[in-house]
């Protein structure tokens, strides 16, 4: 019943826009570091680059998070945990793949324990290349995701 009302409400364009706006500007990110881009994750969240300006706040518990940064390569051991963490997050949720390693395996293309591209296990929304990408590139990735969210559910 409530769901039906909610769905019909979401068909109203204005409401949809408002809700999309809320989602886009409040992307809380999970604290799960998979690879070498970890310090840049910290740099982008901290003093100089400060993604809190765009509402992207690192949040301790993943139960309230919407965004997962795959920071670098994903090993086979980590892949299971990454998937588990992704599944524990409530919908709607987004994934940004950071760095060459998480896009295609990168430097570890022949390694025996690295997953060749995180899109094998998670649906990725935005890819940010670099090794590691500069914090500015992270911010651009966030902005691109925000633009993507803003268009969600709206006809072109």
């Amino acid at each position: 019943m409530l769901e039906k009302i909610g769905k019909s409400l979401m068909n109203i364009k204005l409401l949809r826009k408002i809700f999309n706006w809320g989602r886009a500007w409040s992307l809380w990110s999970v604290h799960l570091e998979t690879g070498c881009c970890g310090p840049e994750d910290m740099a982008r969240a901290c003093a100089r680059f400060d993604t809190e300006r765009f509402g992207t706040l690192p949040f301790p518990t993943l139960r309230e998070c919407d965004l997962i940064f795959v920071t670098g390569f994903v090993t086979k051991k980590m892949a299971k945990r990454l998937k588990l963490a992704y599944e524990q997050m409530p919908e709607p949720k987004y994934v940004i793949a950071i760095g060459h390693c998480s896009i295609s395996g990168g430097l570890w293309w022949d390694s025996y324990s690295v997953v060749q591209g995180v899109d094998e296990i998670l649906p990725v929304d935005v890819y940010v290349p670099g090794c590691p990408p500069r914090p500015e590139a992270w911010i651009q990735g966030i902005r691109m995701l925000q633009e993507k969210i803003a268009k969600e559910g709206l006809k072109k």
Partner: protein, 168 residues
């Protein structure tokens, strides 16, 4: 005046005349001692107690596949003497067992565990030889052995990947 390095070589040669295969000074601060594998524990104890080699630096294995041997190398640093000794021993490749030295150098715990994992060298007396770095469902051979081969081409071709993802 003999240097610390030479002193180490001399004393180890006089103490274990039978078991030392080779003992030499490699360069300043480096001594290399190779011993028979069954005596490595005693030599280790002697190095620690008598010569002050107290700071374990690394334990590593080398896979000499041509001669069908593993070489296990304990690199130990003497904090006071400022000498690094490479205590090395060769063990057969088909039955790689060695007495664990964690009773001598407690810091070797994780090093030996890693060497077990990477080469399959069994350390007798080690309390916990379980997978350390590899994924828990690892079923291949120990990866650092020379007969474990890595792929020469990317593991999945880009075209296949795109096809699997349903793209063009």
């Amino acid at each position: 005046m003999t240097s610390m390095e030479e002193k180490v070589v001399e004393s180890i040669k006089t103490r274990f005349p039978e078991d030392i295969i080779e003992a030499k000074v490699q360069r300043k601060n480096r001594v290399s001692i190779s011993v028979r594998s069954d005596k490595i524990y005693d030599v280790g104890l002697f190095l620690r107690d008598e010569l002050g080699f107290n700071h374990i630096t690394s334990v590593s294995g080398v896979d000499y596949i041509d001669t069908k041997e593993f070489e296990v190398i304990y690199n130990v640093w003497a904090i006071d003497g400022k000498v690094l000794v490479s205590l090395r021993t060769k063990i057969p490749r088909d039955n790689p067992t060695l007495k664990s030295l964690i009773k001598v150098w407690e810091g070797a715990f994780y090093h030996e565990r890693e060497t077990w994992e990477m080469f399959g060298i069994k350390f007798e007396g080690h309390p916990n030889l379980s997978l350390l770095l590899l994924p828990e469902d690892w079923d291949g051979p120990p990866p650092l052995r020379k007969d474990f081969l890595l792929p020469d081409t990317p593991q999945e071709k880009l075209e296949e990947k795109i096809k699997r993802a349903g793209g063009q």
